[in-house]
């Protein structure tokens, strides 16, 4: 899973659904239980069957012991059922209280890589105790369970709440969304079963980790006067305290700067010039467009798959620079940009400013990608909804079982067996079986029309013959009377045959249709499209795909998407972000002073012909004696580009069969495509004198810090 990148996105979604939600390995093959309903288990079914047999035999064979025995068991069973039923409304009134603790107290903010303890309390105020319940806390995708259990079982009573305690370790920066607690209840015999989800959404931000860097610059005292933290000497005339130069006195110079001894020696008035003391500013331009937000599988544990995205590394770099600069009181600015606009935070120092920047970074890390060409592309350009359907449905079945009940979200059997949902957008790319499955209603209509005309046509001819009193139509009449029933019969037989083919081969398609209908109804109601939204989402694949992505991203469910359309177009290329970045850079240059470092953490791959505005902006910045560094984000799991003189890492000897594997070939092509794009970008910016680095390497933070150190030491005579 780790080696593949693009071609395995569907498998990655499937893998996630399998590990987390126990969905089957083959899409649409296995049913997903979990819709909220009272279920008689197989144990209960067999017992009821045995009791009914005993009772029937007792009544029919006139056996008193059997009748009595049957009645005893039946009454007991009915009482168990009623008892279970009566206590169920209390399940819907359960309360969930959640606290997340660090080592000292409850917290409202998490930190990446840190461990916390989650305490969940399940209680209710009803008079009746609950049946036996198994409560399972829904673990967010952004965290990893360390120890403790997310399950607890027992009976919830008014004064005896159930408690769950476990420890988690936070993943990369983003949001941790605790959805609530899944409640499974059953009687002590295991005859009846009910699933309910108590929604208690708690969203906690995970701020980027602040780890001290080993390459943090040291503040050695090299001069008699140690400047305050954050202030650095600059070799231009200013109001500092260190002597820069001596020059002739000019009218208007303050008398206190006159160097009297030198003036006496030279015989004319000489004045002292002092150095400037300015802070060093660093502005980070962080790309938050969809291309860096695409999650890719980066390893799997026994319970769930771990995802990584290029943005995580960018945030790590930005947080590292922020922390290092804050420790020496340098000013750091932040500009978050995407294809729609930029958000600018002016360079500043202090813990408030740092916390604000970290919150902003955590907020953008929680956003999910949306292909820029979903609605703009031509047919087939959007994401295939079947790509995300198993994952989204299995998540909905776990978290929203009450909205998938057949009582409120039904799927009539006739609509899957006799009609099928069409899905207009994809009609041109369908195979024969898929076409047959979706156009069954057309076949049915054809049958009715053929039958109708087989009946009407002979009648019309007979009527014409009687009205016109001619025998010229007799041979036509004979022909129609003979052919029409045959045609109708053949149509019906052909239709029945095709329906039979679909019935045999369309099991997975029917299940997919059922999932899609239920999910479309849920999304339509959730996003305010009801009542007409359901039919719209069944027909329009692109709209459905977008809403599924929105649903998953709102719940922080990681999912992967194909990066390239079937036509080979990069779905996440957003050339609009280049002018946005260029404008932000020019604005920062306009507001900047001396000693500025601009760090562009931007994904500019495959945007070669759209880079002109940015190149001009970089030239402006360099012309003002600022420094610019470009850090290119790199998808995790993808082989990083080789620097000159570095030999590519061998991935092991592949068998001929593996070399011919389409997935492997596709991966290789993709990797080469990325490498070539990176080399082109590097050449383009190196010509201007801008250092280009790959974010996947360990060098970016040391490079940025060394550039900052160079700016600090710019005026020091000894450095």
């Amino acid at each position: 899973m780790t080696g593949s990148y693009l071609s395995r996105s569907r498998e990655a979604n499937q893998f996630c659904a399998e590990k987390r939600f126990e969905i089957g390995t083959i899409p649409f093959r296995k049913n997903i239980p979990g819709a909220e309903k009272i279920m008689l288990t197989s144990r209960g079914c067999w017992f009821l069957f045995s009791v009914l047999v005993i009772l029937s035999l007792g009544l029919l064979r006139l056996s008193l012991p059997l009748t009595l025995l049957g009645l005893t068991l039946l009454l007991w069973f009915a009482a168990q059922w009623l008892g279970f039923l009566v206590r169920l409304p209390g399940m819907r009134r359960l309360r969930v209280e959640r606290e997340v603790w660090d080592d000292r107290s409850a917290v409202a903010t998490l930190w990446a890589g840190q461990t916390f303890e989650v305490r969940v309390r399940l209680s209710h105020d009803g008079r009746l105790p609950s049946p036996h319940v198994l409560a399972t806390d829904c673990l967010p995708f952004a965290v990893e369970q360390l120890n403790g259990s997310i399950h607890v079982q027992g009976i919830v009573q008014a004064k005896k709440p159930l408690e769950i305690t476990y420890r988690i370790r936070c993943g990369p920066a983003g949001l941790a969304r605790f959805e609530g607690v899944r409640i499974q209840s059953a009687d002590w015999q295991g005859f009846f079963y009910h699933v309910h989800f108590v929604h208690a959404v708690v969203i906690l931000p995970i701020l980027p980790a602040l780890t001290p860097r080993a390459v943090q610059p040291t503040s050695l005292k090299r001069h008699n006067l140690l400047l305050p933290p954050g202030i650095h000497r600059f070799r231009r005339p200013g109001s500092g305290s260190e002597l820069l130069d001596l020059r002739d006195y000019l009218p208007g110079d303050p008398p206190k700067t006159i160097a009297w001894k030198v003036s006496a020696r030279r015989g004319r008035l000489i004045t002292k010039e002092f150095e400037s003391e300015v802070p060093v500013r660093c502005t980070l331009f962080v790309d938050t467009s969809s291309s860096v937000r695409v999650p890719t599988p980066a390893g799997a544990s026994s319970r769930q798959i771990r995802y990584g995205k290029a943005l995580d590394r960018l945030i790590d770099i930005a947080a590292g620079v922020l922390q290092t600069n804050a420790s020496i009181r340098d000013l750091t600015g932040l500009c978050l940009f995407d294809e729609y606009g930029a958000q600018y935070v002016a360079p500043d120092r202090g813990s408030v400013h740092r916390t604000k920047c970290l919150w902003l970074l955590a907020a953008v890390a929680a956003r999910s990608p949306i292909p820029s060409s979903s609605f703009e592309s031509r047919e087939g350009g959007g994401i295939d909804p079947d790509h995300l359907l198993p994952l989204a449905y299995s998540f909905a079945a776990e978290v929203y079982p009450e909205l998938l009940r057949s009582a409120v979200n039904s799927v009539p059997w006739a609509m899957t067996w006799l009609e099928g949902f069409s899905g207009y957008s994809r009609r041109l790319h369908l195979g024969l079986l898929e076409l047959l499955h979706r156009r069954k209603s057309t076949l049915r209509t054809l049958c009715w029309w053929t039958s109708f005309w087989a009946l009407i046509l002979p009648l019309c001819l007979l009527l014409m013959r009687a009205l016109m009193r001619t025998q010229a139509l007799d041979h036509w009449l004979l022909l129609v009377v003979f052919v029409a029933p045959l045609t109708a019969l053949a149509t019906w037989a052909g239709t029945l045959f095709l329906f039979g083919v679909d019935a045999v081969a369309g099991g997975g398609k029917r299940r997919r249709d059922r999932w899609r209908k239920q999910l479309a109804a849920l999304l339509s109601a959730r996003y305010g499209l009801a009542p007409g939204g359901l039919a719209m989402l069944l027909e329009d694949d692109d709209a459905f795909s977008l809403l599924v992505q929105r649903f998953l991203s709102e719940h922080q469910v990681p999912y992967t998407l194909p990066l390239y359309s079937p036509e080979g177009r990069y779905l996440f290329a957003a050339p609009q972000k280049v002018p946005v970045l260029a404008n932000a850079l020019v604005r920062a240059v306009g507001k900047g002073r001396d000693n500025e470092l601009f760090v562009l953490l931007a994904d500019l791959l495959e945007l070669d012909d759209a880079l002109d505005p940015l190149l001009r902006a970089v030239q402006v910045a360099l012309g003002r004696h600022h420094q610019v560094v470009l850090i290119c984000p790199w998808p995790p799991g993808l082989e990083r580009p080789h620097t000159q003189g570095e030999r590519p890492v061998s991935t092991g000897r592949l068998t001929p069969a593996a070399r011919l594997d389409p997935g492997h070939l596709e991966d290789q092509v993709t990797i080469q495509r990325f490498h070539r794009a990176y080399q082109r970008l590097r050449r383009m910016f190196t010509r201007l004198g801008v250092a280009v680095l790959c974010a996947a390497e360990e060098e970016p933070i040391p490079l940025i810090l060394s550039r900052l150190e160079r700016l600090r030491n710019l005026g020091r005579p000894y450095s």
Partner: protein, 274 residues
């Protein structure tokens, strides 16, 4: 951790679970119930056949077989129906006016105790919630924790046995009270009365449960219900309109692509470079 270590740990946990007092108590209850069952059947003169249900029950207890209780019940039904009054050639009236004996009541108590104990035992050692067919192994969380079994539960169980047997006798007396209508056979009349009674209870309970469910529905559920009803009534018309709308949207997109040659050139360039 190796596979053999895993298996060792699992077998140790299983041994520990089987020796838990709660599991042992339920096991003893089932064995006692089976013994009582044998005594009751032997009193009916079934000779060696009286051992058959008990043997099946013991086997099911030893292997924690979930189909044990139904098999015990079915074997019992077979044995008792063969020894019923009709098979002995007795008159119908004999059955109608007969009152249950102590052995009849003991038989009911024994069977109920066995069924109850066996199913609760299964919940402790196998699973209480239905198994997910997609999982290969039983998750330990799916079985009821033996530590949750209290003395109060055992006491309730002991009290339930005579209560439900007594209620069954009352129901039987109620059934015997009425003469058949329309001169229909006595057996048919009893079956019909029982079936109607069961259906009436089921219908009333079902209606009340669904009414309660609707009154406690959340706004999202109510909205979903209304949307579903609307869609079921008008889905053909809605489908047609939306198909046309989607077609129009796609056509507009195609035209936009054609009318923006720069976009096309850029795409071709990117493709060519790659």
């Amino acid at each position: 951790m190796t596979l053999s270590e895993n298996q060792d740990q699992r077998s140790e946990a299983s041994q520990e679970l089987r020796s838990h007092p709660a599991v042992r108590n339920y096991m003893l209850l089932c064995l006692a119930a089976l013994f009582l069952l044998v005594v009751c059947l032997a009193e009916r003169g079934l000779e060696w056949w009286c051992l058959v249900p008990a043997l099946i029950g013991c086997l099911a207890l030893l292997t924690y077989w979930s189909h044990g209780p139904p098999l015990v019940l079915l074997s019992l039904a077979g044995l008792l129906s063969m020894s019923g009054p009709r098979s002995r050639g007795l008159h119908v009236g004999w059955w109608r006016f007969r009152m249950p004996t102590l052995m009849d009541l003991m038989l009911c108590v024994a069977v109920l105790a066995y069924v109850l104990g066996h199913y609760r035992l299964l919940s402790l050692v196998r699973h209480i919630f239905p198994l997910d067919p997609r999982r290969r192994r039983v998750d330990p969380a799916q079985r009821r924790s033996a530590a949750l079994v209290t003395g109060w539960e055992m006491a309730l169980l002991g009290a339930a046995l005579p209560v439900w047997t007594g209620l069954a006798v009352v129901t039987w007396v109620w059934m015997m009270d009425y003469a058949p209508l329309l001169d229909m056979p006595l057996e048919l009349w009893r079956v019909l009365r029982l079936v109607w009674a069961i259906l009436a209870v089921l219908a009333v309970t079902g209606i009340m449960a669904s009414y309660l469910r609707q009154t406690t529905a959340t706004p999202e559920e109510s909205l979903l219900y209304l949307q579903d009803q609307c869609w079921r009534q008008t889905h053909r018309a809605q489908s047609m309109f939306n198909r046309w709308l989607t077609w129009a949207r796609l056509r507009a997109q195609r035209r936009t692509c054609v009318s923006r040659p720069s976009l096309r050139i850029r795409e071709v360039r990117t493709r060519g470079q790659s």
